[in-house]
Symmetry: C2
Subunit: 494 residues, 2 copies
């Protein structure tokens, strides 16, 4: 009974936070240089469909919205209040939120527990007060939250408006949330929720993880962690998270210097890196070294089936890429399995006589559509291989684009040749997506100019491909798929 009541309460404040009917901005400003302006502006610009209440005792209107002297005067209990007033005013403001009936407060303001003991005291006072008033808090010292569905709420500091998508984020650093959103933008992948959790005085990473795990819009969970207030709770939660969804993490404070810096940043106490990594592996948390790497892995997990083992086939449209791929794959613990005589015979039938007769299969520069797809399909249908890396798609379409743009007369044949190349690569790209579906094995693409392949953007948006601008990035993302598969196999015994 009690558990039920807690669940209902939780469901209610998650709803208030991620699909609020109304949002107040306490500390709203008309000064375009202040965060009190930028936060409000981002909410408006982001197309938030609910009711917006700027709170500022000195203004009657901000950005066209009626301003209220205090949240107490707002004519309804607000679901979420974004708080940007100075830290010393925060207890008074929380009191007023309580009188309004506010459900959740997002405390942007810094200058609490991360600074000194005095700040820590104010932080603790604020949380106790909020709880006594039935209110939950995000932050303080955070960047805000984004919820792209079904609310379109961009209540955070940077002018970033990522589209809706499968990635759910909880980050103890606002800057790194910003970097993460930018990395997603560059890959063309969207987000469900982004939570900058700051000092986590009240709601902590495990709470947000619980929400994201149950959230139907979140398919892959990404986290940036500096430290834990309650390690036991975290790893208990982690077990539930990773049983259900891929769970990725960048852990700061891996070195002595990093631990010190983390403490001064969010007051987090980081522990032994080795011990922590061991626990992560056990609980199915996939650790990434960098933010970019984490987003790369997440994009693969969101778009491709899992390989059922480590044996990878490599098809390359240029020899050097293949050589480095063999190195990178081996270094990442993947197995560049040898072709068997039957595969070699089959490829002898389609490839030019000088083909290299090994994995990686080097198509050299003169590949034709049929050669390439046949090579890919041989890997996909063979039970010797669990997935394929394709290197160099995009260069021909890219060259085609130049030829077309440089064509002077129809007689020079450049426009027609360029168009042919572009179209051929578009057909290869479409056929590859079909092949991947047919065999239910992952295909990861790497090429400096992959984005020139016709249909690329749409395919990425629809999560039909995982494609990277460099070989090491693709290999590392592939490694993420393998880690996920091996974890599931271990816990599910299949």
């Amino acid at each position: 009974m009690e558990g039920d009541s807690i669940s209902r309460k939780k469901a209610s404040f998650w709803k208030a936070l991620f699909t609020p009917q109304s949002v107040a901005l306490v500390g709203a400003s008309k000064d375009a240089k202040k965060w009190g302006f930028n936060l409000l502006f981002n909410i408006v610009k982001g197309g938030y469909p609910g009711r917006i209440y700027p709170i500022n005792p000195k203004e009657s209107e901000i950005l066209g919205f009626k301003a209220y002297p205090s949240i107490v005067q707002v004519p309804e209990p607000v679901d979420t209040a974004i708080l940007v007033v100075p830290s010393s005013d925060m207890p008074k403001i929380i009191q007023e939120c309580g009188r309004n009936g506010t459900k959740v407060g997002v405390v942007i303001t810094a200058g609490f527990g991360e600074v000194d003991r005095k700040g820590k005291n104010v932080e603790e006072e604020m949380v106790a007060l909020a709880r006594s008033l039935g209110m939950r808090l995000v932050g303080p010292n955070c960047q805000g939250i984004v919820s792209t569905w079904n609310s379109s709420l961009y209540a955070h500091m940077p002018p970033q408006f990522p589209p809706t998508g499968p990635l759910g984020v909880v980050s103890q650093s606002g800057n790194l949330a910003t970097s993460l959103i930018e990395a997603g933008r560059q890959l063309g992948i969207g987000f469900s929720r982004i939570i900058s959790s700051g000092n986590e005085a009240d709601l902590q990473t495990p709470d947000f993880l619980e929400f994201l795990t149950e959230d139907p819009k979140t398919e892959v969970i990404l986290s940036y962690l500096e430290g834990l207030k309650d390690g036991r709770k975290f790893f208990q939660t982690a077990r539930k998270v990773s049983a259900k969804k891929p769970f990725l993490m960048v852990k700061a404070g891996q070195t002595e210097a990093g631990v010190k810096a983390a403490f001064s940043h969010t007051g987090a106490l980081a522990g032994s890196a080795g011990l922590f990594s061991g626990l992560c592996r056990q609980r199915g948390i996939i650790q990434a070294e960098t933010i970019e790497e984490m987003v790369d892995m997440a994009a693969a997990l969101a778009a491709q089936p899992l390989p059922r083992g480590r044996r990878v086939g490599v098809v390359t449209l240029g020899g050097g890429w293949g050589v480095l791929a063999a190195d990178f794959c081996s270094q990442a613990g993947l197995i560049v399995e040898a072709l068997n005589p039957r595969m070699i015979r089959e490829l002898d039938g389609v490839l030019p006589p000088w083909w290299n007769r090994m994995n990686p299969v080097d198509m050299v520069t003169g590949y034709r559509k049929g050669d390439l797809l046949t090579s890919m399909e041989l890997f996909l249908k063979s039970n010797r291989f669990d997935g394929v890396l394709l290197l160099g798609l995009g260069w021909r379409a890219w060259r085609g684009g130049f030829l077309k743009s440089w064509s002077v007369t129809a007689e020079d044949g450049m426009e027609a040749a360029g168009q042919d190349w572009i179209e051929e690569e578009g057909r290869i790209f479409a056929d590859l997506q079909e092949l991947g579906c047919k065999y239910d094995k992952p295909i990861l693409l790497a090429s400096d100019v992959i984005q020139h392949t016709p249909g690329y953007e749409m395919a990425v948006r629809q999560r039909r491909v995982a494609a990277y601008s460099s070989l090491p990035r693709a290999v590392r993302a592939y490694r993420g798929l393998v880690e996920r598969y091996e974890f599931l196999k271990r816990v599910r015994g299949k």
Copy 2:
């Protein structure tokens, strides 16, 4: 006497290859899909100022240039002939080049020693023949060469026209030369010479290294190596190279899988990775793991003074970046040295009361120009620190750009605020460059949006800054500076 004659001969064929008065393209084509067209087109499009001779027995003119049935008919001995005829025709063509008096042949065609014994025989025959005719060869199985000064020669397969700049490249893979040029384009840095050396049947990596070492236009040397025909010669040359210029390398074939792939690609025999790396360190070769990393390091070496040690100061405009920087620096062997009490006191005088009082110095989000430059200068003038990383510059100008573009009326103040931010960041950026010069210590910048900083492109082109789109990239580049310093210190004893 004999040495002199060899030197003169070498000087003469280098001149023919990198600043040719005339170029022939043997196997020129009117078919826009053929390399015989694209190579010729790239030479023309690249603005080559010398005489161009397309060779094709079936055409009278190609791209407006008179075509010759064979190079024998060309009215002058050509400096460099680019050869794209089938491998079986190559001995005949080399004969004809000899009759013409051609100085250097660049053999693009594949299908030689990398395929089988028979190909190897043709390759050896071709080299013996060329040498007997006083001609030197680049390739076969290569992508061509680029020489941006003072010839503007883009005699290579891809439609890439990198601007002139400090990087000289020798690559045993054409694709990786292409990737390298693209990485340089993204960083905004140019190239002096780019040599795709392929199978190296005649001229080998050590030959090109000798040239690049003496070449006044080349300041940093980058190489991609799959294997060596003569390891002793290579490491003897390497000693001379790295004594004079920074010498960077990506070595393929670091794993068993990579070794096999390298052999099938260019017929190269790769040796033990550990032994090789040890020799590289000893000879001052800086090894990079990826092409991107190599170009990042080269850009830093071309633009910044060397740090005189490993102690690095970090100034960050966001806490999370600082925490990760501390980790990445430590992992890369850099020392995130502590501030001393005097530095803390000095910073207390300029930074807001809540500053974190440690290295990395976190400016939080509310930094002002004075605070930032004072913090930077404290590190630069302190003998406790050898260089500085600055994280997060660019975000404010980036936000300023959005504010400006979203401004509706002058009253909303967004345009003015946005403009202020942009201008302020531009001033910081300019002042930083001055500071770096004043103290002769490296400053490396990292930020996802650094390119939004006003003056960025010009500063990069003029090599006054080294700036990276992510923190790990900047740290790795910084590490390259340290490796260079420590090598020079070891050999010069200073």
